[in-house]
Amino acid sequence: MITLPHKRSLLTWLVHLSVLFLVIVWTIPTAGLFVSSIRDKDQLSSSGWWTALSTSEQRIVYRAGIPNPPLLENGEYIIRGNLFDNAEAVVSHFGFTSLKPDVFLAGDEASLSKGRTLTVKDNGDYLITSPEVFQGRGQRIFYTAQIPPRFTLENYQEVLSSEGLGKSFINSLTVTIPSTVIPILMAAFAAYALAWMRFPGRALLMVTVVGLLVVPLQMSLIPLLKAYNLIGETFGVGSKTYIGVWLAHTAFGLPLAIYLLRNYIAGLPREIIESARVDGASDFDIFRKIVLPLSFPALASFSIFQFLWVWNDLLIAMVFLGNNEDQLVLTGRLRELLGSRGGNWEILTASAFVTILVPLCVFFGLQRYLVRGLLSGSVK
């Protein structure tokens, strides 16, 4: 904003502050996801991620195992152990019923039924004594503990192996890479023909491409699903194949690809192409040796778009790919986890972060091309 000098400093400050505020608002959701994904899962579910660096107070239930053979000491049967896996936590209160989980201070001795006693020290050591042999299920110990912050990659290990995200990652790559390369090839050839070759129906084809730019995917799904089933039956290959999904992504990316690339290729200098023609080069040679290298920026822009779009797609993958281990892509897996592990935030946050990691790298690495592509597609 252009302002008079004496107002400028105040206004500039205001602009700095508002932009800072907006940046924080826009970044916080993703930051929260990331911080949560590397927290200990008990801490994650009991306190907000913004408290990740402070010591958290947690109420936890522990069930003491019964030793076999029974331990006898001074005429009494005992169970001895420690509540914690790691030794840094501090117990403040404890109890033995869920109604009164914190009636005793750490170090106290609590009297249970049948002459039993329970002692819990602040370092987590506990001791249960009984005049008789322990039977049935182990004694429950409720305790309140101050647990220092703990960061871990366990969540990632779990989602990558047991939740099958690692496999889905490869499936996603298998879908994405050909679905990015094939449409570029097809579109580049078509765009060259539309820009520099004469053939009947060229204008009509161009208008069709522009019209198809906005056709909603939903319009195509039902007929294609039916057609895929029919083709699958006829050839006995099943309707859910990688080739099927590549072709679908290819076709759905084509209108934008042709449109972007045609605009770019049509803008190449006429002299270069004409002089190559005069020298006797065929259109295929011109395309391969001149146009393709010159259009690199446009090709890069589109391939980033297409990569992001395919990687992030859920709809096409759900319709044209199966639900099994060999075909479930990351987005589909994420949706499944949302249903089956809806409350397990340690699983969801780590999985979501694995899913968005690749697009984020592509984004920050190749932002320049992405912006250029957006601009050539929209600003006129």
Binding site: L173, L205, I222, A227, T331, Q367, L375, K380
Partner: protein, 336 residues
């Protein structure tokens, strides 16, 4: 490891197959109609033939793909909308009658209209404001990069991110969702946000606005830079203040770009599906057309008639934008 290897193999076959077609077909054409080492009249004839055939080798795959994945399905969807759930028996306007009598449809339609009003408006507004502000400060590009970042995140990933923010815990448990934590901090009662009818749609819209603002910002920022400095200087000399310059000079200058951004986001909104599916799956009155259509595609074995009817409604909503786009392009092509 074995899976990775087979995946690589499959990828190579796919990509190389495509490249082989273009290379092979052109080579074949050159072999059949050689343009070298022949009498001149033969060369001339061959070249003519080549010039007729080659464009179709180039556009052929694209035309086939567009035909099979767009043209055929659009026509077939229209046909299927007059057939029953299996697509075999002609039922006339039954599906259309069902549509206009269905409360479910009107709910999604109403929600879609809300989405159409709110999301493009706010995304464009925030995009414009941020673009204007970031152009004035030295760290503007870094700021832009952060606001642009959600563009790279999938809708379903974004849904998880925001579901975590809207998370709700009963009673005295400490809230781990940011929004409820803020509410509790200021002494309010925690709310299960995504189950509150009417307003919950807005909480879902926030996700799309969060994603799309960056897009609007990038494009509008480029357009703002295209405004000639002289225009702005003249306005300053004439005594215009900042607000006047913004609304009377800058906004009218980039009006065309605003329209493009607006329509692009509008089309995206019409297709929004993943967010609703992941957040509520249409429960608590948040249904939208795209998700309803997906639902009918598979509900009870799938009802292709009803699914097709809903798809056609979405299509009809897009048609005005499509016509506008085509006209704009035609005008441009003639101008060239």
């Amino acid at each position: 490891m074995a899976q990775l290897f087979s995946a690589l193999l499959v990828m190579c076959i796919g990509v190389l197959g495509c490249a082989a077609y273009f290379y092979g077909s052109n080579l074949l054409l050159d072999l059949c109609f050689p343009a070298k080492n022949r009498p001149y009249d033969v060369i001339a004839k061959n070249l003519r033939v080549c010039n007729v055939i080659r464009p179709w080798l180039f556009v052929g795959p694209a035309v086939l793909a567009l035909g099979f994945y767009f043209i055929f399905p659009v026509l077939d969807s229209i046909r299927l909308s007059f057939f029953d759930r299996t697509g075999k028996e002609f039922v006339g306007f039954y599906n259309y009658a069902w549509l206009f009598a269905s409360a479910e449809f009107f709910e999604s339609f109403k929600n879609n209209m809300l989405w159409l009003i709110v999301v493009p408006t706010l995304s464009t507004f925030f995009g414009l404001v941020i673009a204007t502000m970031t152009d004035r400060i030295w760290w503007g590009n870094i700021a832009k990069s952060f606001i642009f970042m959600p563009m790279a995140i999938s809708f379903i990933g974004a849904s998880i991110i925001w579901k975590f923010i809207y998370d709700f815990r009963n009673g005295d448990d400490s809230q781990i969702g940011l929004l409820n934590a803020v509410v509790v901090f200021f002494g309010g009662e925690p709310v299960a946000w995504i189950t509150v009818p009417f307003w919950n749609s807005f909480f879902l819209m926030v996700i799309l606005i969060w994603i799309q603002t960056g897009f609007a910002m990038v494009i509008l920022s480029a357009a703002l830079r295209g405004i000639p400095e002289e225009t702005l200087e003249a306005a300053v000399l004439d005594g215009a203040n900042g607000v006047q310059i913004f609304f009377r000079i800058m906004v009218p200058q980039i009006w065309g770009t605003i329209a493009v951004v607006w329509t692009t986001i509008t089309i995206l909104v019409l297709k929004v599906f993943d967010i609703v599916l992941a957040m509520t799956n249409g429960q608590w009155n948040t249904q939208v057309l795209a998700n309803q259509m997906f639902d009918w595609m598979f509900r009870g074995g799938g009802d292709s008639g009803r699914g097709a009817v809903i798809a056609i409604v979405i299509m009809l909503l897009v048609v005005p934008i499509m016509v506008w786009n085509i006209r704009r392009t035609n005008a441009e092509m003639e101008g060239r």
